[in-house]
Amino acid sequence: MARRVSNRRRWFFTILAWGVALAIFFPILWTILTSFKSEADAIASPPKFLFFDWTTENYAEVQERSPYLRHFLNSVIISVGSTLLGLLIAIPSAWSMAFQPGKRTKDLLMWMLSTKMMPAAGVLIPMYLLFRSWGLLDTRLGITVVLMLINLPIIIWMLYTYFREIPSEILEAARMDGASLKNEIVHVLTPMAVPGIASTLLLNVILAWNEAFWTLNLTTSKAAPLTTFIASYSSPEGLFYAKLSAASTMAIAPILILGWFSQKQLVRGLTFGAVK
């Protein structure tokens, strides 16, 4: 239903919305711009917005200061690994809760969500000491398992809300036709479940990539993902704005792009299907 809109009104809101959006985005834009400046230009007063000598040397220096690629790889392994592991455990659970709901399924789901509410501070100390005695501190395996556990409730919930929307009549029809459980899963369920699984995967990779409590506390160097690597810039030496910006730009670029693709699923996924 198209409402007639006066041109003036349209321009007013367009300019206002663009202004607000640019203001909100500005810190990111500023970081990206600064990453191409020399350190002297980065703190120039008045600030230089576009007219400075563009350089890429900060990106090279960041790699020299600390093996950036290793931290990047750690981030990829930890976020993708924990999500895949989580999916492996969550898919059967969510599948059976969506298609064979019992009397207690709702309670069980609520309980799972409530585990998310346990503050990390309550379990930090035993986890730290256990990890220390098991030799898991600063290992990719250790942090991957922890991130899998903290995101598991979200993964289950998201999958559950997606699976629940698959009409069960289709499954029944397949059963009537004599499809075995295996065939039912491979030929009927999987194709319908793939979109839901894909958006769950995407969102949880983003969440795990940006997780900054357990990564900061359980990793230091060898297994450190980008969150921990960037935190090392909090005690700087000398001029470092341009290098900080270069490191930051590289840390956020991949996930920003993934995030923009996942915009639509984001709302649905993070509100557990309550807002669509």
Binding site: P27, S96, M112, P126, L129, A212, L216, P236, S245, I252
Partner: protein, 289 residues
């Protein structure tokens, strides 16, 4: 309909996640509880002994604890207020006929994808720094004295940084909810001569209540344990001015090595979170059914 065989299978498929989550919840929590009754400092190994509730007595009578408690609630409350009110306003704005709405949305959602350590460091250095930050330059440009945000207003600065990260989230969810509002209802209200404010309070706001509830629930989960933003900006200071419960437990355990005291703090944090959770679950249970 389901056969006995299928039911067993269903239980079997749910079991791994239930067991894992149960183990993840109960084992470390039980150890924390056990430590909280011990005198246990990592600097003096072998001296552990049972001391009953002494750790709790010290922790609860420590002024740092009450400050951390107040700061925790301030962060949750402050960020929620900014993001929910700001989110409603921005969602209403984005719902207007705008040119290039897709790009505007992309720009606005971006902060949500930025890792906390990056956003905190960028704000701390490039914006709030009293010498080289953009805010300092702006202040000087209009002839004012630059403000050292993180030293003078540490908690407010952290609330602003965290709110910047969560405002896009609230906006996006509220916008999605807004777009499902029945336009015929709005037109009917217009025909009846309802003003903009009446439409907002009687139609839009009730329609958004469910989405607002969800935003509050999810943000609270994450805001109760804000950590990285504090670690890389103020380290909880000056004094305890920007220390929340999570940061207090961290500093007591991993900086002062007082495992017993920190464990008592951890248990207190769990109790606080449970109170908030019960409250929220009631709310969400009412709205989502």
């Amino acid at each position: 309909m389901a056969t006995k065989h299928q039911k067993t299978l269903a239980r079997f498929m749910v079991a791994p996640s239930v067991l894992l989550l149960l183990g993840w919840m109960i084992v470390p929590l039980a150890i924390t509880l056990w430590f909280s009754f011990q005198s246990y400092n990592l600097l003096s190994p072998g001296m552990e002994r049972f001391i009953g509730l002494t750790n709790y007595k010290y922790f609860l009578s420590d002024p740092a604890f009450w400050q951390a408690m107040a700061n925790t609630l301030m962060i949750v409350g402050g960020v929620l207020a900014i993001t929910v009110i700001g989110g409603v306003v921005l969602a209403l704005l984005l719902d207007q006929p705008i040119r290039g709405q897709g790009i505007v949305r992309i720009l606005m959602i971006a902060p949500f994808f930025i890792m906390p350590t990056v956003s905190a460091l960028v704000w701390k250095n490039m914006f709030m720094n009293p010498v080289n930050g953009l805010f300092a330059w702006l202040a000087k440009a209009v002839g004012a004295q630059p403000i050292d945000f993180l030293a003078q207003y540490p908690l407010m600065s952290i609330i602003l940084i965290v709110a910047w990260q969560w405002l896009p989230f609230a906006t996006l969810i509220l916008l999605t909810a807004l777009q499902s509002l029945d336009s015929e209802q709005m037109e009917a209200a217009e025909m009846d001569g309802a003003g903009a404010w009446a439409k907002f309070t009687h139609l839009v706001l009730p329609h958004l209540s469910r989405a607002i509830t969800v935003v509050i629930l999810i943000e609270t989960i994450f805001l109760l344990s804000v950590f990285a933003e504090i670690l890389v900006t103020t380290n909880g200071g000056p004094g305890y001015a920007s220390t929340n419960l999570t940061y207090l437990v961290y500093s007591q355990a991993l900086l002062q090595y007082d495992v017993g005291g920190a464990s008592a703090g951890g248990i207190v944090a769990v109790i606080l979170a449970n109170i908030v959770a019960i409250f929220l679950m009631r709310m969400i249970g009412k709205t989502l059914e």
